[in-house]
């Protein structure tokens, strides 16, 4: 069978695998209808990450299940599909009922099953690992993570002299990643990367810290993707100066991750806050 229908307590997960061409007995729609009627669960996620192709016949079978979901005023999401699979859904005129989503998390947020302002502590490790990797490979600096701590969302002060800031955009949360360095660590990095002496942060060299933020987000994205967060890449910016301030998006939770290196301490901070729904309200 190229599918599994699984009761996840709050929703039904239909995992699609390989070629889903239809003609199974019982078919996906029949099994789904049965579970919807038995459990009265009205949210259904079709997990299509492992699906290599989907046929019209299989999609028609899925609509049988949809009728049972609709009877409960429920909804479905079609998650993680390859572009060719999504295209089949569109061509069959079904993309408004099997709504495509990049991530499972995004689908759960749509259903209201994940609280909008929760800070998922699982996002910290991908950023920790990514920061260590980028500093090691690109800057030749070994860094050891200290104990992360929370910062008030109302406190905009970063802890270094120069910061690279990059927006985090995903289906389930938006926010900001910032890496904040003292002038001495920054100059050490410039020297390691460019092979030139650096005595101060200036307009010519400052963009390097933005590039580091970009690389950290790119690396973290791999692990975050495995956790169900579909992160999009964005363009970084830089700020510098003693006691400089940045404005994170919105006012959610902010976790600060300190890192010890042989040339001092630097900080990486992640603020998660407003979800896609909240952003839409803003416009």
């Amino acid at each position: 069978m190229p599918f599994d229908v699984i009761n996840q307590n709050e929703y039904i997960l239909v995992k699609l695998q390989g070629e889903c061409l239809g003609g199974e007995s019982p078919n996906v729609g029949e099994l789904l209808s049965k579970m919807v009627e038995e459990t009265k669960l009205k949210f259904v996620i079709f997990q299509a990450t492992e699906c290599s192709a989907i046929g019209s016949s299989f999609l028609r079978d899925m609509t049988i299940g949809y009728k049972a979901i609709k009877a409960l005023n429920g909804q479905t999401r079609f998650v993680g599909a390859k572009p060719s699979v999504n295209q089949s859904v569109v061509q069959n005129g079904l993309d408004r009922i099997f709504v495509p989503k990049m991530s499972l998390k995004g689908a759960l947020v749509d259903f209201g099953l994940v609280k909008q302002k929760d800070f998922d502590v699982n996002v910290i490790n991908p950023f920790l690992n990514a920061t260590i990797k980028v500093l090691k490979i690109q800057c030749f600096i070994e860094s050891k993570p200290g104990k992360p701590f929370m910062k008030k969302s109302t406190d905009p002060l970063l802890l270094g002299d120069v910061s690279g800031i990059i927006p985090i955009v995903s289906e389930s949360f938006n926010g900001t990643l910032a890496i904040s360095l003292s002038e001495s660590i920054f100059c050490h990095i410039v020297k390691n990367m460019l092979g030139e002496e650096c005595t101060a942060i200036n307009e010519q060299n400052v963009d390097l810290v933005g590039e580091l933020a970009n690389m950290i987000l790119g690396q973290a994205k791999v692990e975050l993707g495995q956790l169900g967060y579909g992160i999009q890449m964005t363009i970084p910016s830089c700020v510098w100066g003693k006691d400089h301030k940045i404005k994170h998006f919105g006012g959610g939770m902010c976790v600060v991750m300190p890192f010890e290196t042989e040339v001092g301490t630097f900080y990486s901070e992640v603020m998660t806050n407003n979800t896609v729904q909240e952003q839409k309200k803003v416009g």
Partner: protein, 147 residues
């Protein structure tokens, strides 16, 4: 003594400092028999202009190191556009050098004949290996990750 083969390389990245890092690493990779000549562009728009200018004066670029996320015109948009132009269908060879790790987007890039996809952060050795594979005609369109 054999004459050196001139290899024109265009480095496209919105960070001027990162362009310097890439150039420095590539200069370190220069071996006997080759003379690398570098130029830079800060986005896809400027890169396209440089490619056209070089083609007009009959000194085309052989290799482009291309970032993805850049303001104005992204690396992906640049690549898609130039590959539709007859004279740029095959040359220059393009090496994506980007923080973008999404497999769907990597695959989309491969469709446009990317010779290699390097994920930032990168080492000097990675750039040197990829460049020499390309010059020796051994590039296979694969992906390089720093470990």
């Amino acid at each position: 003594m054999n004459p050196c083969r001139k290899v024109k390389i265009l480095i496209v990245d919105d960070s001027s400092n990162l362009r310097q890092v890439i150039k420095r690493y590539l200069q370190m990779a220069q071996t006997e028999g080759y003379l690398f000549e570098f130029d830079e562009a800060c986005n896809g728009y400027e890169a396209e202009q440089k490619l056209q200018e070089a083609a007009v004066i009959d000194e085309p670029f052989e290799i482009v190191f291309l970032d993805w996320m850049m303001p104005k015109v992204t690396g992906y948009e640049f690549m898609k556009k130039i590959r539709e132009i007859e004279i740029f269908k095959v040359m220059p060879s393009i090496i994506m050098l980007t923080a973008e790790t999404n497999s769907e987007q990597i695959n989309a890039c491969m469709k446009y004949g990317v010779s290699k996809y390097i994920i930032k952060p990168f080492t000097q050795e990675m750039l040197a290996n990829v460049l020499h594979e390309l010059l020796e005609g051994k590039a296979d369109g694969g992906i390089k990750y720093a470990i």
